[in-house]
Structures are given as C-alpha cells and as structure tokens.
C-alpha cells in the first residue's frame, strides 16, 4: 500500500531517454494520430487522441529535461503532474488504449506513441493509478502464476483431456528438449485444443518439445499494467525454467502481449540476453513449412481472412508467416482493407480485456473491426491471439454477426496429412 505521486513522478523520470525526448520534441499537435486510433474514430472523443494519453510523461520530460521547462518550473509556469491529473488520465491510459501502436505507424514525425503510453503506465502504476482489475490480475499472476488464477493442477487436468482426445503424449518437464512451449491462461482454460494441435504438429514434424510445470504461463500482467519490476519477475520465471530444461527455443503461444513480453521486452527487463531463442508459434510453424515438415491435405473452401494481432504483427514483426501458412490450406483468402502492420486492433489488448471498467468502450470500438469485416464479408476469421479471439467473438456477438473464429495453429493441425 505504498504507491504515491512521488513514486509515480520518479518512475516517469526514469522512463525518459533520448527516444522519449526526441519524440516529444517533435510533436506538432497535428492530430493525425487520433485518426489512427479506434478509441477516437469510434467514439469521437478527443481525449482519446493517442499523443494526449502520454501527457503525464510529456510534462515530466518538459519540466525536468528541457532548459525552457526547467526555467518555467522555477516560475511555476511549466504544467505539473498531480493527483488530479493522474486520476483524469487513468481511463485514458488504461481503458482507452490497447498499446496497439497503430498511431506509431502514422505519426508524420515518427513518434512511437504506443511506446510513450507504455512508459506512461509505469508512472501511473507507481502512483497508484492503475485500474483495480489490472492490479488484481497482476497480483494473481505473481502469487498464483496466472492472471486468471490458473494453477498447475488445472493445466495437468487439461493435458490429461488432450492426451485422451489425441492419443498423443504431452511432454512435461523434458530436459534437453528443443522447444519449450508457453501457454496463455486463456488457451489452457478456453482453448485447450491448442495444446492438442501443437502436439499433433510437433509430433508429425518430428521435433522434441516440452512444457515446463514451473513456468508455463506466457502472459505477463506486469507489461500490461506497466510495472517493469513485476514484468521482470514474471519473465525471470520463464528464463529459469528454460535454462533448467536446457531448451534451445522458447515458444510464445497464440497470445499477443505474451510475445511482446518474452520476445522483445524480456531480455531488457531481466537485464541480460537470453541463452535461448524466443519465437512465436507462427514463426516456428513457418520454419517447419520451409523445411517441408508440414504435409497438408485438403483446402478450406470458405472465404478466410486473417486478423493481425497488434503485438504479433505490427509490434512483433510476424506478418508474412501467417499468410504463408494460411496459403497452405486455403485458396480463398482475402485481406481486410487495412491489414498487416496497418491492421486495426480488436480493441481489447494491452490489458483492456482484463479491465471490466472498459467493457463498454471496448465493445463500442469494435465497430471499427465490424466495418473492416463488412467490407470483405469473410466466412471465417483466422487469428493467432487468444485474447483477440475471445474479444472478436464477443464483439461479433454484440453486433449480431455470425462469423466463426479460427486459431491458425489449430486449423493447420486439422489439415495435417495423416
């Protein structure tokens, strides 16, 4: 119970580096970023303008790290960060931003606005201005090991079911395996078929893999709430397990922010490079494809589209792989009007889905995805993020649309030649 404004301000001070300084120095208030953000386009609410969400960080940068700001501060002219302000910004930073980074792609000055908001969250969280639900999820992630409260017995039970269904052995804690698979709580609880699909594909591909009983959770609430210390602790668990099992590659599952957390932020959070590689499951599958390890039979005839999960494509760099994989089992693939690195977020990433307070707005902004889908009218949507998948299903139901959601991995597994 020790969050305070001072801590928040100190955390913001820690976040300022040359990228932050150059970004804020370049902003011309052109407003183009607002048009890239579904929380503005679908609500028309100007407080959802992306760069505006990073205002707490901007004020600290200005008053602490610029000559004019410092002089202004002496005369009380530079805007300050206070409790009242942070209270106002809490919903802007957490409820109305999924850190999808579409704004970062359109800013004519090249400002990585999503990065600024991610950094702003560090200050917000330290000041005690994180949403209650995210705090709860974070606590569960640290104490229980999963934001959704999924414990090892639950996983073991699901594994048992999967083994029964598929007749394949799910390797647990196998030392020296080539791949160590991480899972998101959602996959364990909502989509256990994913585990079966992996088992099928990996067995066919003839590679060794395992799941660690000590670190199977891929998600990282620390990243979403914006507390690097907690994020590092969660990453460290995976690092320890991977090192203990001496695996060559850790696989991030169909989850967006998990990939961001372990692949891109992970080594920086724990402060040293990993001794193993980190890959997204789609990257692994695409490698199998290239190596000819995937034998596919039968094609989907329905009109398929692919929803790019932001943290995997735009923020993660896995863009071509899913398309090449879908090509293997589909002749009827169609892209959404904005796709790949310019895809629109589903509206529930970055902790929004764990924040009940944001339920209304996340469903409202789903209109953007609906408009995208209305233009191409697909028969099914393929994606590679459980969080996107759950929210897309939610949104489609809300908007009375009947389009099934498919996991890329699972669909691929279905088409594996016997």
């Amino acid at each position: 119970m020790s969050a305070s404004l001072e801590k928040g301000i100190n955390a913001l001070k820690e976040q300022v580096d040359s990228t932050v300084a150059s970004f804020f120095s370049s902003c011309v208030h052109c407003g183009i970023c607002s048009e890239a953000c579904l929380f503005y386009t679908e609500t028309g609410c100007p407080t959802s303008t992306p760069i505006h969400k990073a205002e707490p960080l901007r004020r600290i940068w200005k008053s602490e790290y610029t000559l004019l700001g410092r002089v202004g501060k002496m005369f009380g002219l530079t805007a300050k960060v206070d409790e009242e302000m942070l209270t106002k910004w809490e919903t802007r930073v957490y409820d109305n931003c999924t850190l999808c980074g579409r704004c970062s792609m359109v800013c004519p000055m090249g400002i990585d606005i999503a990065l600024l908001i991610r950094k702003t969250r560090e200050g917000m969280a330290a000041a005690g201005h994180a949403p209650e639900d995210l705090i709860g999820a974070t606590k569960r992630a640290v104490t229980i090991g999963s934001p959704m409260g999924v414990k090892l017995p639950a996983l073991l039970a699901q594994i048992k079911h999967v083994e029964k269904d598929t007749g394949l052995k799910i390797p647990l804690d196998v030392e020296g395996a080539e791949y160590m698979l991480l899972l998101s709580s959602m996959e364990i609880m909502n989509f256990p078929e994913f585990i079966g699909a992996i088992a099928k594909i990996f067995t066919k591909a003839g590679v060794s893999w395992t799941i660690s009983s000590e670190a199977f959770e891929a998600t990282n609430s620390g990243i979403q709430i914006g507390v690097a210390d907690i994020a590092a602790e969660l990453v460290q668990r995976i690092v320890d397990a991977a090192e203990k099992l001496k695996v060559k590659t850790v696989i991030s599952p169909e989850c967006g922010h998990a990939y961001m957390a372990i692949r891109w932020e992970g080594p920086n959070l724990v402060g040293k490079p990993f001794s193993f590689k980190v890959r997204h499951i789609l990257e692994i599958l695409d490698e199998f494809r290239k190596d000819g390890r995937l034998k596919i039979t039968g094609k989907e005839t329905q009109r398929l589209t692919y929803h790019d999960p932001c943290q995997i494509s735009r923020r993660g760099g896995v863009i071509e792989q899913p398309r090449k994989l879908i090509d293997m089992f589909s002749d009827n693939f169609v892209e959404m009007p904005d796709h790949g690195k310019m895809n629109w977020c589903c509206g529930a990433g970055g902790g929004v889905s764990s924040n009940e307070r944001a339920d209304e707005v996340r469903l409202k902004v789903f209109q953007r995805k609906k408009d995208q889908l209305d233009e191409i009218k697909p028969d099914a949507i393929v994606s590679a993020c459980s969080n996107c998948r759950i929210h897309l299903e939610d949104g489609l139901e809300e908007y009375n649309m009947d389009i099934p959601l498919l996991s890329l991995t699972e669909t691929l597994a279905e088409h594996l030649a016997e």
């Binding site: 119970m1 820690e14 969280a125 606590k139």
Partner: protein, 378 residues
C-alpha cells in the same frame, strides 16, 4: 566657373546688392535671358515637380515678380561635393539659373571675399534680411569637440545656431547636413549630427544625397520662391515630389529583378546584358531618390545605368549598411564567425545541460524502490 551668369554673381565682392531691390524678372532681362528660355525653365520645373501645365504661367508670374531672397550658405563637415554638384555644369543649364534667382550673400567656397570681410557679409545679410533669408547648410556639425571644425574661429554649432535664428527656412543639402552622412558613420569620431538634430523650431527641408541631384535643389528653391512655402515633405523631411518613389520602383532594370535575372559579377554576361544589380549590392529597393527619373549630368546617365549598384546615398546611415557590395538581404555582420563561436559555446553549454539531464535520470533510477504487488495501491 565658366558660366557667365555665375560670374555675374561672383563679381560681387561679398554682398550682392544689385538684385535685392529688383524683381527676378528685371534681373533676368537685364542679364539677357529671353522670355522664351525663362518659360522653358518654368515648364521644366513644373514637370519636374509633377505640377500640371496650367501651373506654368503661375510659376512664371510668381518668379518674375518675386524679389531675390537673400541666401546664406553654411558649409560644415563636408567635402564640397554638394556645391560641386550644383555648380559644375559647363553650359548654361536650368540649374545654373538658380544663381540668378537668389542673392547668395555668403558661401565660403564661392564668394570672393575672405576672412573678416566674408564674416561681415554674413552678419550684414542676417541683419538686413532678418526673418526672411534662406539658410542653406551642407555638412554635419561636430558635437564631440567643437575644434574639429571651425570657421573664423567660430564653431560650427555656434555659427549654425546664430544664423538659423533669423532664417525663414533652412534647406539642409546633402546627406551630411540632413542625416549626418559620412562623418556620422560608425564610429562617428566627431560626434557629428545633422541640422535637424539641432534645430527644431524652423522649417527644414532635407535634400539628401551624396551629392544631391542639382535639379532637386533647384526645384526646392523654385517651390519656395513660387509659393512662399516649403514643399510637402516625407517622414524624414524630404520633398515628396523628388523622394516619393524608390530607385527600385523606377529602375529601368526592374523587369530583370522580377524575372530573377541578376548580374553575379561586374563582368559577367548578366552585367553586359544589363541585368539587375541586386546581387552586387544594389540598395535601390530601400532608397528613395529621383536618380532613376532625372538622371545626372543633364540627363546623361546615372549610377545603375553606368552598371554600378545604387549606394543608397540619400538615406540615413547609408555608410553603415554593411558594405556597398553586400546585398540588402545579406546580414551586415560576419555571421559565419558568430555561428562558429556560438557552436563552440553552445556545445559546451549543451554538454553541461546534457550532463544535468543524465544526472537527474541517474538519481531517479537510484531513488527507485523495487515495485512489488504490494505497491500497486495507495
């Protein structure tokens, strides 16, 4: 002084008494100036001063019936270029007629008298025409040490103030008298000032130029004689009729400026083709004078026509504009050097401020307490 009429004037030793009681018409006729050439002069004056032709008979009448005014010409810190400009005509010209219209009672370059006689002539003229004489001044007045310029032991300042007292109006001729001119140029060692700087209670007509165009001086005198008033002046005391338009706006090379055709050097193709001299430092765009229309030496030519950029000599401080060959858009100081010094200084300041930033960030990092799940709420 080959001009006959000038000689008439100069033959008088000291004070020219012959014309004072006669009208100008009488004087002119006694000197053999025909009515025809007089009207021609009036017509030229009218056109020069942008008056309607209907004014010509009025001018002629006014001039003919006017009495020759007494004129006292004081020369202070000057080069005599202004007097040269006015008198150097070799043939009988319009401007030379001016000397027939006035009774030049004191002019220490032109008068025959010298020493005490000269000063007595001035004093006599002042006394006889008190409140009516015209005072013409060329040259600036040194205010630093009066010893920089004296006449007959009298400082320029004292002589100006004494003579100005009884004058009907003052004509400041040349840029030195009007705005300080070359003596006033930075660093102004003599503390030179203009007539207008010292005299506030008399009408002053500024006729700047280095030197001024002779017909401008003539025109101003004509106006005074014809109407008994001073012509309409601009915001720095210049007769609008001559100084109302910039050199640039009346320049025959203006079309080249508009097309972007410039002489880059004095001997390039552009210079030969008569292109705009802006890049060679022409001050035409900021200079107001009549050179482009009246030209010099009986309308023969003028500086820009001769291929040289305008120096801007009829404007105040034209000597301090950063060099005659520096374009108007160029800074007058050495900015390159300034920039280099600034880069060096600012780099040091930048490193210092950068170090402060780095320091501030380090202390923020040092002040960081590890955030645990117990630290998420207040």
């Amino acid at each position: 002084m080959t001009n006959n009429k000038d000689k008439t004037l100069l033959d008088n030793s000291g004070v020219d008494k012959t014309g004072v009681d006669k009208t100008l018409g009488e004087v002119l006729r006694s000197q053999g100036v025909s009515r025809r050439s007089f009207l021609k002069f009036c017509a030229a004056t009218a056109s020069m001063m942008a008056m309607s032709p209907a004014m010509i008979p009025k001018i002629a009448h006014a001039l003919e019936s006017a009495r020759r005014p007494s004129v006292i010409w004081l020369s202070f810190q000057e080069c005599t270029g202004c007097t040269e400009s006015l008198t150097r005509a070799h043939t009988a010209t319009i401007e030379s007629l001016i000397f027939d219209f006035i009774s030049l009672d004191y002019h220490h370059t032109l008068q025959a008298a010298a020493g005490h006689a000269a000063e007595e002539a001035r004093e006599a003229a002042m006394k006889e025409n008190d409140g009516k004489y015209l005072l013409v001044v060329d040259g600036s007045i040194p205010m630093d040490n009066p010893g920089y310029s004296t006449i007959a032991g009298i400082s320029n300042y004292d002589m100006l103030m004494e003579t100005a007292k009884g004058a009907a109006a003052i004509i400041a001729v040349g840029t030195c008298a009007t705005y300080g001119g070359i003596p006033h140029a930075d660093p102004n060692p003599t503390g030179a000032v203009s007539v207008g700087d010292l005299i506030k209670d008399k009408p002053i007509i500024n006729v700047p130029g280095c030197p001024p165009i002779p017909v401008v001086i003539t025109g101003v005198l004509m106006h005074f004689l014809t109407f008994g008033t001073i012509p309409e002046l601009d915001h720095i005391g210049r007769p609008k009729v001559f100084y109302g338009q910039s050199i640039h706006d009346r320049c025959y090379r203006r079309p080249f400026y508009d097309k972007g055709l410039f002489a880059e050097t004095f001997d390039d193709e552009g210079a030969k083709k008569g292109w705009c001299l802006y890049k060679l430092g022409c001050k035409g765009p900021t200079t107001y004078n009549a050179c482009a229309t009246t030209k010099w030496n009986d309308g023969t030519s003028w500086p820009i026509e001769a291929g040289h950029p305008c120096l801007g000599c009829s404007e105040p401080d034209f000597w301090d504009g950063g060099g005659f060959y520096k374009s108007l858009s160029m800074p007058t100081e050495n900015i390159t050097q300034t920039a280099i010094y600034t880069v060096a200084g600012a780099a040091a300041a930048g490193v210092a401020l950068g170090a402060m930033n780095k320091n501030k960030k380090s202390s923020a990092v040092a002040a960081h307490n590890k955030t645990t799940i117990d630290d998420l709420e207040k």
